[in-house]
């Protein structure tokens, strides 16, 4: 899989940018590159997050993965993740869950990686 590390770093950056956009200045990350998949968990301390913001985050991260266009979108999106939009991360991950307990926003995404046989 070409550029595996770089792409996962971009997903992490996009999620962190989004959390910051929502008001989270303290974030904890768990970043795992495993043989078959990558697993990223971000927990951000955000007080008073609206249910609409949570729903929007969930919907964007659960866009169907676009394997064919992933490379292209990754190329054209530039190098900054400053706008807080999660579109690129959404098309690059297979599953995503978003939860909020009134104080901590938890975003958990999994990206299946192509193995050499594929």
């Amino acid at each position: 899989m070409k550029l595996r590390f770089e792409k996962n770093i971009r997903i992490l950056t996009d999620i962190l940018g989004h959390c910051h956009f929502l008001g989270g200045n303290i974030c904890h990350t768990d970043f795992s590159l495993l043989p078959t998949h990558s697993h990223i968990v971000v927990q951000a301390e955000i007080p008073n997050l609206s249910s609409k913001a949570i729903a929007d985050t969930h919907r964007t991260l659960n866009i169907p993965r676009q394997k064919d266009l992933e490379q292209n979108y990754w190329n054209i999106s530039g190098e900054e993740a400053i706008d807080g939009e999660l579109m690129l991360a959404g098309i690059m991950v297979d599953t995503a869950s978003v939860s909020y307990d009134g104080k901590i926003l938890t975003i958990d995404v999994v990206r299946q990686e192509e193995t050499a046989e594929e």
Partner: protein, 423 residues
Amino acid sequence: MTFSKPKFYKPYTHALLTFAGFAIFAFVANSPAQIWDGLGKIITSRSLLITDYIALGGLGASLLNAAITGTASVLLMAFVRVEPNGSIIAAIWLTTGFSFFGKNIFNCVPIILGVWLYAKFQQENFSSFALTALLAPTLSPVVSEFAFLGRFNPWAELCIGCAVGIAVGFLVPIVAGVTTRVHGGYNLYNVGFAGGVISIFVAAFTTSAGIEIERPLLWSDDNNLFLCIFLCLLMGSLLIVGLLPSRRAANLRGYKKILRHSGRLVSDYYLLYGNAIYLNMGLLGLLATALTLTLGAPLNGVTLAGIFTITGFGAFGKHPANCWPVVLGAIGMALFNTQPLASPSNICAILFCTGLAPIAGQYGWVWGCIAGALHTLIVGHVGTVTSGFNLYSNGFAAGFVALVLVPIILSFKRGKSIRETEI
């Protein structure tokens, strides 16, 4: 290119029906003999900027050319089984629009073959380069120019044209992959910027080889009524799809959300909001048509390309709220230059400056106006260095505007965090 059983997703079926409508309009406009004759002129033209195919081959032939090229684009996507998304829909509309103004089935194919060769070279599926393949024919005048040079044996020229087309097609994915670093995703016409860079080298080669490039200016202005009816029906059909009773409420909700996006790459409205894009596309198309006519410009091949491009990018980055500031800035600058407001260069700049809409979406309407004004200022100068080989010359100019303007904007915002500036 791996062809399997084609998969016709709904947006592809909708596009094919639309292009069937184009063909019907073609035969309403002209007789089959006129269309055949016009199509021959279009395919054998050198197609450099500005070649309005309506002026060259007539209304019917241009409409049929657009129908053929658009249908071929959709079939290519269906056969390589690319799932539809905003960028593919935008690229199909852009290709169709530029089929009134520089693209035809002959000069597109070698370039797409070049992209396919690059995919093979990279040992990747062609479907991963489908978007680039649709957009790469920004350099299609290169194929026509070399193929119909009129200096050597016609068959040899034809072969040279195809070979050069394949070569530049091979280069487009490489260059387009890095040009985004220049504009940071704020230029929606990224391949136009890449095409501009490549065409500088092509233009330099032709100059050094002693080949004189004669820039044409074919510009028709006598089909306003017919094309206005055509565009109103076309945009109306998009609005109808967006307002179908079964999805009306969801689409209207989705459309409200589209209007909140900055539009910066990647803003794929189709993946996020589905058929709500048709509302956006139809509305943008009608607004662009009204703007063109209000400014006193004719509806012709060139303005149709602009209107179709705006419409297509309604699925991928543009909406009225991020387009109006750049258009306003472009009109403001056009009022101050020596050309009439409705001159070809000004009207092209006004329609195509919307490639910079993400600047307005991200940084506000004032910076959007400045972006539009700067675009109008430089587009003519930037176009000359490419000798008319790059059809998306406005994308080339927009790249330079973003390159200069975005760092300036950021320097004004220095010291503030993202949240402070964006919320």
